[in-house]
């Protein structure tokens, strides 16, 4: 029975590792390859940490299991080792992990700065739209074609709900805000996440590498309908975006009304 329990502690980390190894092929992994440049970097850092963590996991779990195995196979009645510890070991297992942890920290800094520090945003990034979260939808405001996006609404701005069109292949900036409670802008394929904090306008930037539709969901509890803040990010060539905006402008003007109500529809 003793040996059974020791084996038990060998067994479960093995199952855990196997399930991680087969996970990508079963679809239990990232929803898609990273579709933005910062996403590529984030995934790189993830895999770096994954390697370090996996080695540590395997080593510590198997050493633990082996210590149990040694105890299980010890002749019964034989005396336990009498030791209060080892100064040398303590030094080793303090210094080595601290170097690894500092290394991991330092390796994050550049990417973090690139994603979040506003003065480091790509110079040619253009402000394409303002995204306003509200219970439970995403309201998009584009500047009137040919003008710049500002934090206040301007006549001629274009409005739409739950669909954000962005050009591919170049960095874009989104102004993120919320009309009511806190939400979070999360696009799993683009690896972008930023809270929309009441009272603040927070710029975020990303570049989409390929044409396609990507999910935009809410990642901060915002009420009962939190799960259904479903929207999509449509990434297309600049000319298609221009065409889309032109069409939107035409629709909006044909309507003859100030478009917010029309565009936002029912909730």
């Amino acid at each position: 029975m003793k040996k059974f329990w020791a084996l038990f502690f060998f067994f479960w980390p093995t199952v855990a590792i196997i399930s991680c190894v087969i996970a990508p092929s079963r679809g239990w992994w990232f929803p898609s390859p990273p579709m933005s440049r910062t996403g590529v970097q984030i995934d790189g850092l993830f895999y770096l940490i994954l390697i370090i963590v996996t080695i540590t996991f395997v080593a510590t779990q198997y050493v633990l299991a082996y210590a149990l195995w040694k105890g299980a196979t010890k002749e019964s009645g034989s005396k336990a080792l009498f030791s209060h510890g080892s100064h040398k070991l303590e030094i080793i297992w303090t210094i080595v992990p601290s170097f690894i942890l500092v290394f991991i920290s330092l390796s994050q800094l550049d990417v973090l700065a690139e994603i979040r520090v506003i003065s480091k945003f790509p110079e040619k990034a253009t402000k394409v739209a303002e995204v306003t979260a509200r219970q439970f939808e995403w309201r998009i405001r584009y500047p009137k074609p040919g003008t710049e996006l500002t934090t206040v609404e301007n006549p001629g701005d274009l409005y739409y709900v739950n669909e954000l069109h962005v050009p591919t292949g170049k960095p874009v900036i989104i102004n993120l805000r919320t009309q009511d409670v806190q939400h979070a802008f999360f696009s799993p394929q683009l690896r972008v996440k930023q809270d929309a904090v009441p009272g603040l306008v927070i710029p975020i930037w990303f570049d989409v590498r390929e044409v396609g539709n990507y999910d935009l969901v809410c990642a901060e509890l915002c009420g009962w309908g939190h799960y259904k803040m479903k929207a999509r990010i449509v990434a297309q060539s600049q000319s298609s975006v221009d065409k889309y905006l032109k069409q939107l402008e035409a629709d909006q003007n044909a309507d003859g009304t100030k478009s917010e109500a029309a565009a936002s529809g029912d909730e």
């Binding site: 336990a80 209060h84 080892s86 303590e90 303090t94 806190q182 927070i202 009962w224």
Partner: protein
């Protein structure tokens, strides 16, 4: 098993006389409004075990919805008035209430009070060799303040006519938790929740003041700081954390209550600590204010990060004691163990921002918080290595206590390692508020703390009731809980990597999550298995209380002072006032051998003819 050390042989008969000088007490003052730390500890223990089942039931309802979205709940769906309106279906409002109350019950009514309240109370006076807490009346109040808190949490389920309990998460971020119009749950249920939270805080605060005073002032002669069992060190450090962090949460709670004054009595007057201007919620008039919602997050996490260690450190201490005893070896690196707990506590105060990496706070702060968070993994790692060092080469006893303690170490490794992903800001940008976090904190809070508690219940049960628990049942309970636990929570890492956000009533609405339904079913089935396994523990607990095999003072052949007292100790604990001559972990030492044992009680004076050990 019932070996009594030589030092005690002469007094072995003293069990029945321990009440000696005390007058007869009525049932009420002895078992209900008791001033005795042991009774209060056991009251806390039984209350929290019941709450554990309540919290578990709420979790299973959450799991039901994720595995069988919008399908009627079997059996319970028809039982409660709460469901009946939906014909047994969980509505989205109800779902937010389920996970909010699951977390609130588990954190505030189970984990915190079971560690500090139950084991802190029971063990501190016994392990430091004194007759009771410094302030017995305060101690009694700390227990009885739990009940109004429980009542407030219970009321919060029903005040809104049973349609919605508090549903803002245990983190209660404003404005959702601040503006009553923001959700059905943000009205009076949220207010009751906040008051309940404050009362739990009062209870904890009374406890921690008591623990600090008792540990500082009332140690038996010879019980120097570095002869204290690690359990006592952990309780001491935890009490410091509580005492310094809790006021911040209480203040933040009151600020939120003042922002919400209108939900208590009809008034338009309220503060705007967390309310900025021009917010339009549910078509209400725009808010007037100059507040800052992020302030809440800072205050909340300034408490709640230290609080996650309040929910772990005592278990770490107890596991160290139990591992040494079950390995018949001294704790490996006693002082590094103490220092690393102190480091965790110290660093614990400067890492709160790691919960806010996506909140839009200054990126320079993010870098600082990232580095400090990485550093807190270091003392955690040191502790793991020392636990493994303790087991290494030991004469291991493979009983329920040992298995649960080994489970604790194994699970803590996972929780600590997943923490590293989230401490790295860029990676956390992806993982924040996904199931990866859910996996992480269940590995530390359930996988570590609760498995540690399972071990501690069995280990100190003989001291509480003079009887032992059935070990076979305990080992079955361990196996089923451990398998159930890992099948439930390990796959959640993968759900997180797949980008599944937490707190979603129906993730499958989103195409990229549809294929995760089978995995969620698997998780739910495992969770049900794990939930039902807990009846083994409860059954064993209550059965053994009355029918378990009677045992003597020291059934585990352990070294601590508590094992020199009768089982169960009478009022006043010790029949002979203990004097301490050595540390608590001298298992298999030459001195122990010299008296023909593999342990040596802390009360045994230096054994003649054996060289003195000077390790510490």
């Amino acid at each position: 098993m019932a070996t009594v050390s030589p030092a005690l042989d002469a007094h072995g008969h003293a069990d029945d006389h321990s009440h000696g000088g005390h007058h007869e007490q009525s049932f009420i003052s002895k078992y209900v409004f008791s001033l005795d730390h042991k009774i209060i500890g056991i009251q806390f223990l039984i209350t929290t075990l019941i709450m554990l089942m309540v919290g578990g039931a709420l979790a299973l309802a959450v799991r039901w919805q994720l595995a069988f979205p919008w399908e009627n709940m079997p059996v319970v769906g028809q039982l409660f008035g709460l469901f009946r309106t939906e014909g047994g279906q969980i509505s989205p409002e109800f779902y937010t209430m389920l996970f909010t109350m699951h977390a609130s019950v588990m954190i505030f009514l189970v984990i915190i009070p079971i560690l500090a309240g139950a084991f802190g109370n029971f063990l501190i006076p016994l392990q430091i060799g004194t007759d009771d807490m410094a302030f017995p009346a305060l101690n009694m109040m700390s227990y009885w303040f739990m009940w109004p808190a429980i009542a407030c949490f219970a009321c919060s389920f029903f005040v809104a006519g049973g349609t919605a309990g508090p549903g803002n998460g245990w983190t209660s971020y404003p404005l959702l938790s601040d503006l009553p119009q923001a959700a059905p749950s943000s009205g009076s249920p949220q207010t009751f929740w906040l008051i309940g939270l404050t009362l739990v805080g009062v209870s904890s605060m009374m406890g921690s003041v008591n623990y600090l005073t008792t540990i500082i002032n009332m140690r038996a002669p010879g019980m120097t700081l570095f002869r204290m069992p690690l359990t006592i060190w952990s309780m001491f450090i935890t009490a410091i954390l509580q005492a310094f962090a809790l006021p911040v949460l209480t203040a933040a709670g009151f600020m939120l209550v003042f922002d919400r004054l209108g939900t208590i009595f009809p008034t338009d007057i309220h503060s705007v600590f967390f309310i900025p201007a021009n917010i339009i919620v549910n078509n209400a008039a725009p808010t007037v204010g100059g507040g800052q919602p992020l302030l809440w997050q800072h205050l909340f996490w300034f408490y709640s990060h230290p609080a996650v260690y309040i929910m772990l450190l005592p278990a770490m201490g107890m596991v160290s004691d139990m591992l040494a005893c079950m390995s018949r070896k001294p704790v490996f690196g006693y002082k590094p163990m103490v220092y690393s707990m102190a480091a965790i506590a110290g660093l614990g105060f400067i890492v709160w921002g790691h919960h806010m990496f996506t909140s839009g706070m200054n990126p320079a702060l993010g870098m600082t918080f990232m580095t400090s968070t990485m550093m807190i993994a270091l003392p955690s790692a040191i502790k793991v290595f020392n636990w493994i060092g303790t087991i290494w080469g030991g004469d291991l006893k493979f009983n329920g206590v040992m298995l649960n303690c080994s489970g604790f170490v194994a699970m803590f490794i996972v929780g600590g390692l997943s923490g590293i992903f989230m401490a790295a800001v860029p990676v956390d940008i992806y993982f924040h508020d996904t199931y990866f976090i859910v996996a992480h904190f269940h590995y530390v809070l359930f996988g570590s703390t609760l498995f540690g508690v399972f071990a501690a219940i069995q280990f100190w049960f003989p001291k509480m009731f003079g009887r032992e628990m059935n070990d076979t049942v305990q080992r079955w309970h361990f196996a089923l809980s451990f398998i159930g636990f890992n099948c439930t929570f390990f796959p959640m890492h993968l759900l997180g990597i797949a980008g599944m956000p937490r707190r979603y009533a129906d993730p499958y609405l989103h195409g990229y999550l549809e294929h995760l339904l089978p995995m969620n079913r698997f998780i739910t089935i495992s969770a049900i298995l794990m939930g039902f396994a807990q009846f083994l523990l409860l059954g064993n607990f209550f059965y053994s209380m009355f029918r378990g095999k009677k045992v003597g003072r020291n059934p585990w052949n352990a070294n601590g002072l508590e094992w020199t007292a009768p089982s169960p100790p009478g009022h006043g604990n010790f029949d002979i006032a203990p004097v301490v001559y050595r540390g608590p972990y001298e298992y298999s030492s030459p001195e122990a051998e010299a008296i023909g044992q593999d342990f040596i009680l802390q009360t045994v004076p230096h054994v003649k003819g054996v060289a003195k050990i000077t390790h510490h």
